[in-house]
Structure formats: structure tokens, C-alpha cells
């Protein structure tokens, strides 16, 4: 009984301390509020159930984010099976750029703002959040977590060819979004 109380107490403390940070992470990886909430909720359920296995060699936050990351990977493994990537928005049946999608040069001011403008950063996040979940997940795995492509493929259980298609397609979309938003929000 006492151990149950301790367990509820400590996991409760973790919820108060870490749930916002875990939620932020989950939202960044999914761009989906409800899904992110479910994933964080699941994380604490697992943490509660496997409380005894936490060996306290690492920080609770490290342990919790490990659980969350496994939950997210699980979600996308299920999802990536049905993932067919269409390029028909950008290319015609011959693989040529569609006329209305031909990339245009960006001005010097525009490209400067890409790297230096703080406003650009907010816009970049907005564009990222508009990507379909599995694409966002690949992009954040690469850029935010700094993973190599083969590691990402392994974790998401996707083929390398599929991964590069996703990266290419996501990049096309980001490029378009940045252009439409005129570099500043």
C-alpha cells in the first residue's frame, strides 16, 4: 500500500515537472494536438506500470522521454505502411516540373532572411507543422535529433528509397510554403 502511494506520488511529481516538455516534444513530432496528448498520457501510464524497472541511473526526464520516443516510433511504424507519396502536385507524368511550380529565384533579401531573421524561424515552424505527420517525423528525426538516415529507416521500419522520397517531398512542400509566406509571417 505504501509503495503504491509512493508510486502515485512520484509519478504525479513527474507529471507536474515534465509533462509540458514531453508534450512539446510530442507535438513537434506529430503536429497533432490530440495525438500528442494521447502519446504523453500513454507515456505516464507506461511509467506508472513499469515504475519498478526505473533504475534511477538516469534522470526521470531521460527515462520518460525514452518511453515517449518509443511510443511515437510505434505510432509511425503502424502508420508508414499506408504511406504512399505523390509528387503529382509538383511534377507532370514525364517527371518535368509543372509550369506553375517551376522554382523561381529568391531575391538576396529573401535568402538573407532565411538564416538571420527571427521571424523566419516562426514561419519555418508553421510550415513544418503543416507537413503530414510521417514527413514531419522524418524531418525532425534528421534535423532535431541529428539522426542518420539509416537509423531513421530502422526505427520507422521504412525502406531507404521511401525515406528519400519523403525527404524530397517534404522539402518541396517546405520550399513552397516558405515562398508563399513571403519569408516573413
Amino acid at each position: 500500500m505504501e509503495s503504491t502511494l509512493n508510486r502515485v506520488q512520484e509519478v504525479g511529481d513527474w507529471v507536474r515537472l515534465y509533462s509540458d516538455r514531453l508534450y512539446t516534444w510530442a507535438y513537434l513530432k506529430t503536429a497533432n494536438r490530440l495525438l500528442a496528448e494521447d502519446l504523453v498520457q500513454d507515456t505516464f501510464t507506461v511509467a506508472y506500470q513499469t515504475y519498478d524497472q526505473f533504475e534511477r541511473k538516469s534522470q526521470p526526464m531521460t527515462w520518460l522521454s525514452g518511453i515517449l520516443k518509443r511510443k511515437i516510433a510505434e505510432h509511425y511504424r503502424l502508420k508508414s505502411r499506408e504511406n504512399i507519396i505523390s509528387f503529382s502536385l509538383f511534377f507532370d507524368e514525364n517527371g518535368d516540373w509543372k509550369t506553375e511550380q517551376l522554382p523561381q529565384d529568391w531575391t538576396k533579401e529573401e535568402t538573407d532572411s532565411l538564416l538571420d531573421d527571427i521571424a523566419f524561424r516562426d514561419m519555418l515552424y508553421q510550415c513544418l507543422y503543416k507537413l503530414p505527420e510521417p514527413w514531419l517525423n522524418c524531418i525532425t528525426a534528421k534535423y532535431l535529433e541529428g539522426k542518420e538516415s539509416n537509423q531513421i529507416c530502422l526505427e520507422l521500419n521504412i525502406k531507404a528509397a521511401n525515406f528519400w522520397q519523403i525527404m524530397h517531398r517534404a522539402k518541396l512542400q517546405l520550399r513552397k510554403c516558405i515562398e508563399i509566406n513571403g519569408f516573413t509571417p
Binding site: 509533462s19 501510464t45 522554382p103 529568391w106 538564416l115 519555418l124 532535431l144 525527404m167
Partner: protein, 87 residues
Amino acid sequence: MNTLLHTLIFTCREAGLLIEKKREIQLSAMTGIRLKLHLSACKSCRIYATQSEQIHQALKKNLIIDDLKVIENELLKAKILNNLKKE
């Protein structure tokens, strides 16, 4: 571009994919040459290659874990704590 050229030096779609790949993976010598030829013949893909690299740099520079603005979600917190009480 016509079909023969496509076969020899890729379609724009294929070129775009290789531009992404090349950043991380060594392309075979032949593929590299064909991509170069495509880029020398295709202004749109040259522009894409430049902008793709700029976006790559912008993502590298801007997506940093420690800089993440934490989103507060009190409702979620309350919900999880409430479920915990039922255990």
C-alpha cells in the same frame, strides 16, 4: 526535356531526389556525372538545388532542442493526474 534526355540525365523529379540524397550519401560516379549534366541543362533544378541547400541550412540552424519553446498544457496535466489518482 525530351524522353531521350530524361533517360540519359534523369527527369527533374529524379534529379530532385538525388539532390537530397547527395547531401548524405556518396552517389556513384556515373550518377554524379548524370546529375551534373542535368543541372547544367536545367535552370529550374539548379534553382531548386540552391534553395534546397538553403532550407537544409535553415533547418539545421533553427531546429535546436534546447531552444524549443515549451508549450504549457495544464489541461493535459490535470487529466493525467486525475487518471493517476484512480490507480
